[in-house]
């Protein structure tokens, strides 16, 4: 799984970089700009952002301040704090996923297409809903893990 994710993410980010590089070469060196290249790059770019965020949720490496954690001593206290944080995250993630769904419904209803290549924008708009839903699922998994750790003080939390 880890290897698959690594290859997928590396491919995506390299694709985006290569697309931009091709744009530089065609626009400034060959002086024959490729029509629609910029708008077609939007699709892997936004998917890259959301896949990266999903992977951060999988690895639990989203940026956190963890100020309170400094003052806590025992693993149980840490686990309880993590449960509270994950519960808050879950509520917020659920609410944001609802609005991502609202956005997706709007996108489906309007049926917008990209201006030059006529690629349906739903292919990129779906990334937000899928990303938010997957991140919510990972939040549930982390919550369960921390709940177990809070109920069993011997275990430590990550």
């Amino acid at each position: 799984m880890n290897r698959f994710v690594s290859i997928l993410l590396t491919t995506m980010i390299c694709l985006v970089a290569l697309g931009q590089f091709v744009q530089v070469i065609t626009r400034y060196v060959l002086e024959i700009p490729v029509m629609g290249l910029e708008e077609s790059l939007l699709y892997p770019t936004l998917w890259l952002y959301m896949l990266g965020a999903m992977n951060a949720s999988r690895e639990n490496t989203h940026i956190k301040a963890n100020v309170l954690e400094i003052f806590l001593k025992t693993p149980r206290q840490h686990a309880i704090l993590a449960v509270i944080a994950e519960f808050c995250s879950l509520v917020i993630a659920g609410w944001l996923t609802y609005w991502a769904w609202d956005f997706m419904r709007y996108s489906l209803r309007v049926g917008k297409e990209s201006p030059t290549l006529y690629i349906p924008t739903i292919f990129v708009d779906a990334a937000l809903l899928i990303g938010m839903a997957v991140m919510m699922l990972y939040t549930i998994m982390h919550l369960v893990k921390h709940l177990k750790a809070a109920m069993n003080p011997v275990e430590t939390t990550s």
């Binding site: 993410l9 530089v24 990266g52 944080a85 808050c88 917020i92 937000l128």
Partner: protein, 433 residues
């Protein structure tokens, strides 16, 4: 409405304190605005997601990837060896090497992380071997690593320019003066402190031997030194946009890493790609929600309300600048650089303009403050990373780090705020201000 906005910020801070991931902290702030402030959420996701597709923001993942590739490819060693030949033999010279190398890495990566990640593992053990206290070496490299946010290109300045609609090239130049001043300050403080360390100095090379070493190490460092030339030359030569320059940097870094420095192989390359993408994902999700929250504040005229409230208390420019710097210092203590900029810049910019501070000078003020925020606990991500790399307890690193903050960052924060030419000279010189 200002009460609801304040409540939203309070909830955001509480969620941060609890350890909720930053994107969800902003989501919590949005929930408060929606439920308590009757602000419409409909359409905001659409607006925010469309903003995320802005080509300007694409520079962020590309610079992050270029920096990650360069940090694992062995570029840092070649830069260190090259700088070391000029100052390595001086008492305290290795500390200066660390500082200048971090600045050079900053001119490639645009982030504060790459310096500590690339220079730390190489130089902390070397400095300890020469007689520097390990905690001090760690603190110096962590502090100097943040020069990456001030020496162009800089991810934080891309974000600042984008959220405040200010020329990104002007913002890059605005932080260069303060960045170089901090670099000089760290180097001087290091030379002064080094008098007390029991250092074993490297032998001084002279004559033909010196010339041969300069040539040999110079050739090895050339591909690395060419990178900032390509990036900055491309941008300021008017050839490429920052995003395109970042893409060229990535395409340049890959063969350099694989074939010249040979630190890259398939495994490390895939690892670097995943690491960069994940960092980008966390940053972009945070940008999405913080941007929507910031937009809500702007739509509800919160910045204007702040200006009016503050002006009802005082309109003294000096006092206001001091208060704003204290606020930025406190914000830097609890959130990271990009977050601080997205949240604070649109809110405070009208106030700054009202007291005669241009958006370009404010870019430099925010840049220096947010850079300092990376080493001020409790949220001192770069300091903690440095401590982890240096294998030193954080508690031991804090004291020397504070010394460097007081002697390096604080005077420059003061100068940037009260001496406009420090940040405005270069943008004016190049015709951006």
């Amino acid at each position: 409405m200002i009460e609801v906005a304040l409540l939203s910020v309070v909830v955001l801070v509480i969620l941060l304190t609890l350890g909720v991931p930053l994107p969800y902290c902003f989501g919590g702030g949005l929930m408060v605005m929606y439920f308590a402030g009757d602000v419409f959420m409909k359409g905001n996701m659409l607006w925010g997601f469309q903003q995320l597709g802005n080509p300007v923001l694409l520079a962020i993942p590309l610079f992050v990837l270029a920096g990650t590739i360069m940090s694992v490819s062995g570029i840092a060693a070649s830069l260190l060896n090259f700088v070391n030949i000029f100052v390595g033999h001086l008492r305290g010279g290795l500390g200066v090497v660390a500082t200048i190398s971090c600045a050079l890495i900053g001119a490639i990566s645009g982030s504060g992380l790459t310096g500590v990640a690339a220079i730390g593992p190489l130089l902390i053990p070397e400095m300890e071997k020469q007689g520097y206290p390990r905690a001090y070496a760690t603190a110096l490299i962590a502090n100097a690593s943040l020069l990456g946010l001030l020496i162009p290109p800089s991810v934080t300045m891309i974000v600042y320019g984008w959220v405040t609609d200010t020329s990104i090239l002007a913002c890059f130049l605005a932080t260069l003066g303060p960045g170089l001043l901090i670099m000089t300050s760290f180097s001087s403080v290091n030379l002064w402190l080094a008098r007390k360390f029991p250092l074993i100095l490297a032998p001084r090379l002279e004559g033909a031997e010196f010339k041969a070493e300069v040539k040999s190490r110079g050739i090895k460092a050339t591909p690395a030194l060419l990178m900032p030339v390509i990036i900055l030359g491309g941008i300021y030569g008017g050839i490429m946009t920052p995003t395109e320059a970042a893409a060229v940097a990535v395409i340049y870094a890959i063969p350099v890493g694989f074939l010249i420095y040979k630190g890259l192989d398939f495994k490390t390359f895939i690892g670097a790609g995943k690491e960069a993408s994940t960092s980008v994902g966390t940053i972009m999700l945070m940008i999405l929600f913080s941007m929507i929250l910031s937009q809500m504040f702007v739509l509800e005229s919160i910045p204007q309300a702040i200006v009016e409230s503050i002006f009802s208390v005082t309109d003294n420019k000096v006092l206001l600048l001091i208060l704003i710097n204290i606020l930025l210092f406190l914000v830097g203590m609890i959130v990271n650089d990009v977050t601080a900029i997205i949240l604070i810049a649109p809110l405070l910019l009208p106030l700054m303009e009202a007291i005669g501070i241009s958006p370009i000078q404010f870019a430099a003020i925010m840049g220096v403050n947010t850079a300092m925020g990376g080493v001020t606990p409790p949220y001192a991500s770069i300091l903690y990373l440095g401590a982890r790399i240096g294998k030193v307890p954080v508690t031991q690193v804090i004291r020397p780090a504070m010394l460097l903050i007081v002697t390096g960052y604080l005077p420059v924060v003061f100068l940037t705020s009260f001496w406009g030419d420090l940040s405005l000279f270069l943008p004016r010189f190049f015709g951006y201000a």
